[in-house]
Symmetry: C2
DNA sequence: CTGAAAGCGCTTACAG
DNA sequence: CTGAAAGCGCTTACAG
């Protein structure tokens, strides 16, 4: 008598039972073929029972489903099905940042929510991939995806070039070759918020940027730093918008100091902001245009701790319009970009519900008390 | 001459080229078999070139890889491989809450970070599934996963019963049959923080709980509500811990009012907290034990807006120890549970790096200025 | 309404 | 070090 692999110590006792009834032993997975054999019908019919109810009589279908339940067959194997049909019903989201950062960042989380919502509504599922740790290719398992949504400019574009061919690819917030992009007009939005902020003419305006420089710079951007070209970072577009507004108001952009933070997190922002807030009063900016809400909110927190009055002592603007900015008083003056909508749209494109074409979402100026 | 589907307008010009060299036309996907045929070697050897470098000479392998690149073959198809090997290298995380909630909740995000980090380090990938929308079974695509991490008690446990058999399952923060759980001792942690809070004896202690009742209740829990049994919610354990501390300090728990919120979000908490803060001064609690940091932080924000002094007018404690609670002054007094570590451990178990056995993580009392 | 047969693209003993 | 062959579990024209 052969023993089947994985049998427990009890197996021998049940051997005769197994010999009489051809139920596959618990060690082997039950397949559609087993089910067909037990019912003495073709595998095609069993397959139809699960996938095309209209292709067989209700009575037969019922018998099949009942028997499936009885022998513990939980439906066609997804791996086999995906090979056969060529589709996995999985969409991969490739994040330019680390997963840890992305999952804890409000903007990325909102984007993912929007994507997940649409995928879910269409029976698809979301696979999370970081573009950071893996150098040249996504992990093997991710290449099962039917399509790819790429969020943010990857440090290494060869990963995108190595994606399995002929599968849809949508870029979010950056341009990549001729693949369609979902994004907002960062320059226009920044120009708008700067124009609003400059209706009250500041004595000492300043900017806190996000990853603006070629070499890492967590602090004031001095002459020795070179700014990234606009195709490498959306924040460069925001800077262009700010500068255009400065010029229009008769302020020489070259005279406006720019600080930079390397990562959009509380921890990374704190030292830079402290440096600014601890400046002597006559050098401390009275207007701070921040390139994200996370930065602006951190300014707000630290400024309050120092007893600064907002907006009397310092006017502050953000960018993004995350929920947290509206949770507290004073409310943040900011530009809202609807990241959930961005995600929804990208997902709709990948699923073919929207044409694969560049798409711009509108932004909205939100005037709060930090810069009325 | 046959035209191949998907050919561009230029194709006819290249027809003779295609006829001379048997490169698969661009319309058909290139397979390992094609590559083997072109090199006149077996598919086994090509497969080995990608999967088992030690099984063939470096020279041959090099030739294979070079030719692969030349014809645009980007490696073995993941779908076929997963069928053949039986493994997908995908781990599904099933979230009891909606994806939108989970992605925007700090505790869930930290858990996911921890999971992603470990999966990534072992070449696995994370599939996100919500346990909410789908009634009885996970979406088909999710059943490709090699293992399942389930976070939080599902509204419908039959989904877990319908998971493909014989694949590892780890529960986080709840108990499910005999599958291993990663969790913290909520009762003990709550007892500890309540003991700390009660070292200063309050006049009017109160509790803000999270989903404590059988029927939805967003407000004060009155006699008509029944509390959920402890097996249905971890917050019930937290309440038990609080009550034990009350009793020890000579406070009758039945005299301590309990408010409840239905969801751990700013928006849902606000009306409940306003109700409490707007109580006449002599009825307003002077100690508020909150069952999450999100609740406690919202109390803090709204209390400050009303000009209440924290902790003089009201002492506040939280639960979870999310980063946001330490970003602002006053710092939150809370219990830190290391959700990242929880995620790491659950992922390690699923991958077989840790024994599949119940695991308790320690918690840590953090004493901030909201309840010194 | 049902079934026989081919084949999706790979990996893996196994033999040489 | 290399190759011939089986087969993972399904779905899909196609024929009846």
């Amino acid at each position: 008598m052969e023993t089947s692999g994985g049998a427990t110590a009890l197996a021998p006792d049940h051997a005769t039972l197994y010999m009489e009834t051809p139920v596959p032993s618990s060690s082997r997975r039950i397949t559609l073929k087993d089910l067909a054999a037990r019912l003495d019908i073709s595998t095609a019919t069993v397959s139809n029972a699960f996938n095309r109810p209209d292709q067989l009589s209700p009575a037969l279908r019922d018998r099949i489903l009942r028997e499936a339940k009885a022998i513990g067959y939980s439906g066609p194997d997804a791996k086999a099905r995906s090979l056969r049909t060529g589709r996995s019903r999985i969409i991969a989201v490739i994040l330019a940042e680390s997963l840890t950062y992305s999952l804890n960042d409000a903007v990325a989380s909102e984007l993912l929510s929007g994507i997940a919502e649409v995928l879910d509504a269409h029976g698809h599922t979301l696979l999370l991939v970081s573009g950071r740790q893996h150098s040249n290719r996504i992990p093997d398992s991710a290449s099962m995806a039917d399509g790819f949504i790429v969020y943010g400019l990857m440090p290494n574009l060869t990963m995108l070039a190595n994606l399995p061919p002929q599968r849809p690819l949508v870029a979010v917030d950056f341009e990549f070759e001729d693949c369609p992009t979902v994004h907002v007009d960062n320059e226009k939005a920044s120009y708008a918020i700067a124009c609003h902020a400059l209706t009250v003419l500041p004595q000492r305006p300043a900017v806190i940027g996000l990853r603006l420089t070629e070499q890492a710079c967590n602090g004031r951007i001095t002459a020795e730093y070179r700014l990234l070209a606009a195709e490498y970072t959306i924040t460069r577009h925001r800077l262009i918008g700010f500068r255009r507004a400065f010029v229009e108001r008769g302020i020489d952009p070259a005279q406006v100091p720019i600080w930079n933070v390397e990562e959009n997190t509380f921890t990374t922002c704190v030292p830079v902001i402290k440096e600014i807030l601890d400046l002597p009063k006559d050098q401390r900016p009275d207007l701070l245009l921040c390139m994200s809400d996370r930065i602006a909110l951190t300014v707000l927190t630290l400024a309050e701790q120092r007893g600064l009055r907002i907006p009397e002592d310092m006017r502050i603007t953000g960018f993004d319009g995350i929920a947290e900015g509206q949770y507290r008083a004073p409310h943040l003056t900011t530009v809202r970009q609807d990241s959930v909508a961005k995600g929804r749209f990208a997902a709709s494109m990948i699923l073919g519900k929207e044409p694969m074409a560049p798409h711009w979402l509108k932004t909205e100026l939100i005037i709060g008390e930090t810069c009325p």
